[in-house]
Subunit: 249 residues, 2 copies
């Protein structure tokens, strides 16, 4: 039996999220169907984490084990890409120790969220950003975002109904980069709760619109109350950029 | 009667080009249907030029005249965008002199073409770039491209069957910009023949692959022979970026 680790890029626009859901088109369903076809046996895939409907990934990490899969490792990307839809691309493949687990072993992740500032919408970023028609104070947003860095209880920023044992997470780094109309909010952390990034972005946008003060982020964290935090940003602006498996990178 | 000048952004991925073609979805058909609806009378639209199936525009310029159109000019973008598809956006609108003609009065245009360098294709740029899987010598491509600057007979780079009286055009500026995997080829000229930019790009890519020398561009121009020049680059990498109506800008 070999354990294969793949990095996968996908445009989530046409999918009902990562995870298999009956017959709906999902990233996992496409990957499992392509891999199973080449393996000649049903193969289950493990991802570093799920992504919601419309959310994208530049380098999602998955792994799968198979005894029958016999494509030489250097040819795996090309072989899978020849049967996968154009909006899912396998970028790299490697053989890893049998105990490697894409989800349990993930140490750190980076997400970014794109805002597009335009009064008339956007033909090109409609599936890749949240279009904001009003003015945004990005300096205030940056200031607010830095209050997120560190280890905090993010209960105020997770969707209710989650089943995790702890809502404490560490954000190592927050950054905001503006390039013309595009504002990119970057988050590096040891893990993210369900809808946490989108809830953080919704709250930061409210800061940018002047509806909240940058300092209010601290009170929100202390409150642990979802109802006090901001709206959930729409999914299409969110990208999983990178997953790390080593502690110190 | 008023004459309206609009700048329009569109993602050409889902359209059979700019120009009306029976019942096929085209940019012109969408614009005329939206404008006619608001005007309450059939309105014909004039563009700075056509774009082919799959080609995009960041600021196509169109104009139309109407006696019945009564939307205040500052509200035109929002009013049209509320009825246009999401992948066509009106960015600006202004009233211009009655003799303004978006095609005949265009003095200068800028196109760019995007290449994406990746062995495994691209989930995100599949509709916005030509994915090149081999190595490219971009310095040789840049050198080749500078030979295009100036006034030349571009007969070797236009699709046969064109009906223009002259194939002489002036390219004021060529540029090549690389940002990680993305290579952007920019062309500013007084006008472009049918498929000229895509034929130039196809030839430059052959230079980048080492199949032609940068200097061979001069011989190709002299030859006036389409069969000696390179292949036609696919449409999805091409963007009409800007149209100028003043001589000295």
């Amino acid at each position: 039996m070999s354990n294969y680790k793949l990095t996968v890029e996908y445009d989530g626009s046409c999918y009902h999220g990562y995870q298999i859901q009956g017959d709906l088109p999902t990233i996992q369903a496409c990957l499992e169907s392509a891999i199973s076809m080449l393996a000649g046996e049903p193969v289950r895939v493990i991802a570093s984490g799920r992504t919601d409907t419309g959310v994208h990934a530049l380098a999602q990490v998955i792994n799968f084990t198979s005894t029958k899969f016999s494509v030489p490792v250097e040819r795996i990307p090309k072989a899978l890409n020849s049967v996968l839809p154009q909006d899912i691309r396998v970028l790299t493949a490697e053989v890893v120790p049998n105990d490697f687990h894409a989800r349990f072993d993930a140490k750190k992740k980076k997400y970014f969220y794109q805002l597009y500032l335009a009064r008339q919408g956007t033909a090109f970023y409609r599936n890749y950003a949240w279009c904001i028609e009003s003015e945004l104070d990005v300096k205030a947003m940056y200031k607010a975002g830095t209050h997120l860095e560190g280890t905090h209880d993010f209960a105020a920023f997770t969707a209710s109904g989650g089943s995790v044992s702890s809502t404490v997470r560490t954000i190592y780094n927050f950054n905001l980069i503006q390039e013309e109309r595009l504002v990119k909010l970057e988050f590096i952390g040891n893990g993210f709760l369900y809808k946490m990034v989108r809830n953080l972005v919704g709250t930061l946008v409210e800061v940018g619109m002047g509806r909240r003060k940058p300092e209010s982020i601290k009170e929100l964290l202390d409150s642990r109350s979802r109802s006090l935090a901001g709206i959930t940003a729409p999914p299409q602006g969110l990208f999983l950029e990178q997953v790390w498996y080593e502690e110190n990178t």
